[in-house]
Symmetry: C2
Subunit: 181 residues, 2 copies
DNA sequence: CCCCTATGTTACCGGTCGGTAACATTTTAG
DNA sequence: CTAAAATGTTACCGACCGGTAACATAGGGG
């Protein structure tokens, strides 16, 4: 869905259905034959993003099977890579969350469930990696990964990405050293 | 400005000028005699938030004069306290940022300058606190503080606040131990 | 008391937006 | 080739929104 770029760049509320249709190389009428409302469009877009992220987690899991610390490190590296080519406008999901004040909006539910799944996954990884307080470390990771987006707008995405990777690496190494020694 | 609550709760774009006027216990006309446009209203609101935050930094500085680590710790504690009484809807500034896609919007400029000032301040504090890599540590702090808002929506604001405080405390203590030993 | 200023009221304008109806056109399948 | 299904086109509706004009009402200082 190329229309998603519009949502991300101009904000959900800032882009009209007509523009969405144009970006999707169709027209409003056909759009409304597939989606009942703009909200459904939004929700489907969010669902797509979430699905993509979950897919990435599967990739991560496949590439580092039985290596939780490797997964965590790769996760930070991928995030840093994405940050590098983002520049200015923040996270798509984060912005969408901000633009949908209604807590009962279906798109919000999708996001929340995804967030929860992701968080549980990170906790699980931290536990498997042998962190003494998995919930604590997971929160730390999540906070940084989330915060990097907004923080990068003033520090520069490259630097924030690098530091992100460094922090995660350092935490992982410290943990491994502690377990070994 | 009580109208600011509306901006925060319903989103900038989701609240009309009429509603703003009502919240300010006046009417649209009088509003437009003081503010040229809705964008100016937004900008002034953002300016208010920023001013309040800067004021808090002054407080922090006054309360912990010559004690940079104390400032950092108190900063995290105050943020945690605010998180605790926030529940659901994220950071006002963060959301505003997401809702103003135009990078040349005056409100965005205000936010960006504030972010930059804050970041420099944190770097300065980290340097004064004797952190070996101040830029690195400052980024770490900032990332966590920013990320806590969005992260708290799935973990719970209380827990995220506690962990935030713990992390900062631990970092500070580690640093002090390293300098002493 | 009166004038001047600040505030309130109402109605309105132009524009945009989400969504729909009716009809024309193209594509696909049998 | 033809019938049916999908897609495109145009025009429109009602609602809302940012912003303004004109006028009414207060209210405070001389």
């Amino acid at each position: 869905m190329a229309a998603g770029d519009l949502f991300h760049k101009q904000g959900i509320r800032g882009v009209g259905v007509e523009a969405i249709a144009e970006a999707a190389q169709t027209n409003k009428m056909t759009l409304y034959r597939y989606f009942a409302s703009k909200d459904e469009l939004i929700t489907e877009w969010v669902r797509g993003i979430v699905a993509h992220k979950e897919e990435e987690w599967k990739d991560l899991d496949a590439k580092h099977r039985g290596d939780p610390t490797g997964q965590l490190q790769d996760w930070s590296r991928r995030t840093a890579a994405k940050l590098r080519e983002m520049e200015e406008r923040g996270s798509a999901l984060g912005n969408a969350f901000a633009e949908l004040p209604d807590p009962n909006h279906p798109a919000r539910r999708v996001m929340k469930e995804h967030k929860l799944r992701t968080h549980k996954r990170v906790v699980r990884l931290c536990k498997a990696a042998g962190f003494p307080d998995p919930a604590f470390s997971a929160n730390l990771f999540s906070m940084m990964l989330e915060g990097a987006h907004s923080c990068g707008t003033c520090v520069g995405m490259r630097q924030i990405g690098e530091h992100l990777v460094q922090v995660v690496d350092r935490m992982v190494e410290n943990n491994q050293r502690q377990r070994a020694g």
